[in-house]
Amino acid sequence: MRIFLPILLLTLTCKNSWAYPEFIGYGYSSCLTCHFNGNGGGALNDYGRALWSAEIASRWAYDNKVSNEQIAESSGFFGKTQLPDWIRPALKYRGASVSTNAFSSQQSNKFYNMQLDANLTLQNNLDGKYLFSLTYGHIPTPKVRSTNRFDFQLREYFLRVEPITSWWVYAGLVEKVFGIRNIDHTSYQRKNQGFSIFPSDDEIAYSQGLILHKVSKTWETSLNFFTGHPLAEEALKYKGGSLMHDFEVGDNKRMSVSVLSGKSELRQRQMLALSYKQQVAPGSAFMFEFGGIRNTVLASNEIKTGSYTFVEGFLLLTRGYHFRSALERHNESFSTGSEDRWRFVNGLLFFPLPRVEIRTDFELRKTISESNATDDVWGIQGQIHVSL
């Protein structure tokens, strides 16, 4: 019976995830604690692996005699077998099943191999003062500009240096810095801001660039200059900069302000966001982000200024098992008649075993406008994530 639930959920249906800002509920407010990339996402460092195994994931597979420390010791790539400090490999797979127009006659189901990544991180020592990380992997074929060149690619690579204590410099292909790195890449808080993982839009999350990151106990700041994705067409290379300042406003309460400005040959985008996240109970968190987006189509000089809202409640049910409820809104333009697109997501986020994540989401989409009324649209999404 113990194994029944995870197996059942494996057959369910989804999304991609990179980092878990919700873990402020566990008292972890900085991404640097768990990730080689201090702004979140990508491969986990030793502490992140141990944390996932010994604090976040369920213990159901372990005997009571096995301590959390022993579980943490087994969290390495080869389990208990220790690798030299200078090398850290990782493998990651995500499979997702998506049902669109669920509960209707137009329901369609599709399974995606979302991610199959191999990562290698080399560092001078466990402190990682000098570190190089490279991720090669697969992402799904984009829907619009269908081209196989994106199927397997260098997903992320960066050189990280800490020239002065608590000052970090990243150079390479990394995710742009802006706002909360929500675990759902289809979120209206990421997709409309140019942080898609699919190269089907004009702009995607990853870009070559340089990041200066200062981390202090009560605040951190990231300054990012980016020059576009190396595989993008020249006209779509999005160049610019962003700044994010995150600061403590109370115990396990963080607020941040982000600005981004960038331009390709086709479009200019400027964004501003105010974000907030806090622990509401051990393992549970609340997050909020409100932002403005100004898009300019350069050829026609058409300007649209809109906004978005993101609210998420993250609830620890019991160790390894969480409930997530998110409400998102996006409005492309403040002008009268512009529609508000809403998305209400309720789902479960499980870590039934160390290295394993299972997610199911029930999604309600609705468009509200002064000139149109449509039926509710439901979606069911599920994901299995294995990270070795």
């Binding site: 109970a281 549970s284 309600l364 509200i368 000139s371 009324a373």
Partner: protein
């Protein structure tokens, strides 16, 4: 003089306090469930969709989208873990018949009232989930083309409502609600921010 004023206020304060004690004892005497109670007042954003019907020479189906802002008051009976909540809804409704040439869109103001009685579960002192029946009243009047009658949902609708509520501080709460409406309507949802007192 200040001392007198102070005394006067002190006396008044005591009398109010005494009155509160008497009322509290009455409440406890007549309803042991209400051993402890507090209230919440807040504002929210809501939406739901109703199925729109036009009947006359032919039958046409469409949708009415209701959305707007609400003000809610909730009585929290912590002893019995029951929530009694009422909201005033003020917003707009947009109705569309996608395949009805004579009648396409309306965008009008409406007002409504919603009440719910919910059993709650305190998952932690900061997190509550609750569920229970709801009753929704709203007044809308469609302008129907000659020879047709147009209506959506029901003026009085019943349903079930589930909520998750986070206490950001002991005084400030955020809650997300989702519910079903039984009569020719779809999912109700809302997001609210409230103050506990």
């Amino acid at each position: 003089m200040p001392r007198m004023m102070s005394g006067a206020f002190k006396g008044k304060s005591m009398s109010v306090s005494s009155l509160k004690k008497i009322l509290a004892s009455l409440v406890i005497s007549f309803s042991p469930l209400y051993s402890y109670a507090s209230s919440s007042l807040g504002i929210g954003y809501f939406s739901w969709t109703e199925i729109l019907d036009a009947t006359g020479a032919g039958t046409f189906k469409g949708f009415s989208s209701f959305y707007g802002n609400s003000i809610y008051y909730r009585y929290n009976t912590r002893g019995s873990k029951d929530f009694i909540e009422s909201s005033i809804l003020v917003g707009k409704y947009t109705s569309v018949f996608p395949s009805f040439g004579l009648y396409t869109t309306e965008n009008k103001n409406f007002m409504g009232l919603m009440s719910s009685y919910r059993k709650s579960l305190e998952l932690s002192p900061q997190v509550y989930i609750s569920a229970g029946p709801l009753i929704l009243l709203r007044n809308v009047k469609y302008t129907a083309p000659i020879g047709y009658e147009v209506k959506s949902g029901s003026d009085l609708n019943l349903g079930l409502l589930a909520e998750i509520q986070f206490q950001l501080t002991p005084k400030i709460e955020v809650k997300q609600s989702m519910g079903t409406l039984f009569f020719k309507a779809r999912t109700f949802w809302s997001l609210s921010l409230g103050y506990n007192y």
